[in-house]
């Protein structure tokens, strides 16, 4: 049951007909794991914390860099050099003491990812590289976990939501691109606000999943370009030849893909 302070704090959720007190309780009981506490994970974590998601798991092996602050809005200037998960945990505690935060100052790997995600209801992919994105996809398909995929570059963003049995990232993108074939944000740049747009969409998908409100971005790929603010949703379906979720999957165990990241700042 919600206490008086919670009724006031979450009043704008509670007055939403689709959410109400029951929906808010679902959010308070919800557990979301965010992998990557950067451009996408930062806004997602802020909104999920503010929304009162009961448990947030944060996975990131990095420390805050000065060049992160242009878009990774959960980290502040004095946080430079600190582990991102610690910086984020501190902000979340200030936004909303209702939220329990579990931090993992590590990279998600083939050996650890299933264990990392096992206690969570929904996963957010906020990573910046294809090996991690494919690993998260495969792990979620194999462990039957719903998750939100997100990618941003320059002025563009794209996102899809996978739930068990529905189309996955690999249905569209069969395998990781060769190392350095696709530029990363650190190579090609990204408009900071794009990260906020996409990360908050991912947070909204997590809240929709927890409350059962509306239709998720399943079997769809949402693509936007912020230069002309053009949004499109491309209809998709599960690919029977998909190597992980198809009819005859060839990927039944997780493996770590070659790290394609070539960070120019180093």
């Amino acid at each position: 049951m919600l206490n008086d302070e919670q009724i006031e704090r979450y009043s704008r959720h509670i007055i939403l007909k689709d959410i109400g007190g029951t929906g808010q309780e679902k959010i308070l009981n919800g557990k979301v794991l965010i992998i990557g506490m950067g451009g996408l994970g930062a806004p997602a974590a802020l909104y999920l914390a503010a929304a009162g998601v009961g448990t947030l798991g944060l996975v990131d092996g990095d420390v805050v860099d000065l060049s992160n602050l242009q878009r990774q809005v959960i980290h502040f200037t004095p946080d430079v050099g600190r582990p991102k998960v610690e910086s984020a945990k501190e902000k979340i505690a200030q936004i909303n003491p209702d939220v329990k935060v579990n931090t993992h100052h590590t990279l998600a790997t083939a050996d650890t990812i299933i264990d990392l995600m096992k206690d969570y209801d929904f996963i957010i992919d906020g990573t910046d590289n294809f090996p991690a994105k494919f690993l998260i996809n495969d792990a979620c398909v194999i462990a039957k976990k719903p998750y939100s995929h997100g990618g941003i570059l320059r002025f563009d963003g794209q996102t899809l939501t996978h739930t068990p049995g529905e189309m996955c990232y690999r249905c569209v993108f069969h395998s990781p691109p060769p190392p350095n074939a696709v530029p990363t944000c650190s190579q090609a740049g990204v408009l900071g606000a794009i990260a906020g747009m996409l990360g908050t969409m991912q947070a909204a998908e997590a809240l929709k999943y927890l409350t059962g409100v509306g239709d998720l971005l399943t079997n769809k790929l949402l693509i936007f370009n912020a230069k002309n603010m053009a949004f499109r949703t491309v209809k998709m379906k599960r690919n029977p030849k998909c190597p992980v979720c198809g009819d005859n999957p060839t990927i039944t165990q997780l493996e770590d893909y070659e790290q394609a990241i070539c960070a120019l700042k180093k």
Binding site: G38, L40, D65, N129, K133, G151, T184, V190
Partner: protein
């Protein structure tokens, strides 16, 4: 003939293959694009042999990373 490419109606030459269309569209790294043809993801091995037909609905979908660093 007219086809729909990424949501926009376009007039293209008859007889183009998907590979030909990618070239025409200046997609310089076709390996980096996934193609959805009339709602189904097209096998990469079929890019050369698949001829675009009047009214086809074609989506070029690009890899997009980013977010963490």
């Amino acid at each position: 003939m007219t086809v729909k490419i990424n949501g926009t109606e376009e007039t293209i030459d008859d007889g183009l293959s998907i590979s030909g269309l990618l070239k025409k569209k200046d997609v310089d790294m076709p390996d980096m694009v996934s193609v959805e043809l009339n709602g189904e993801i097209l096998d990469r091995e079929l890019f050369d042999s698949t001829v675009v037909k009047q009214g086809d609905d074609i989506e070029f979908l690009y890899f997009m990373g980013g977010g963490q660093r």
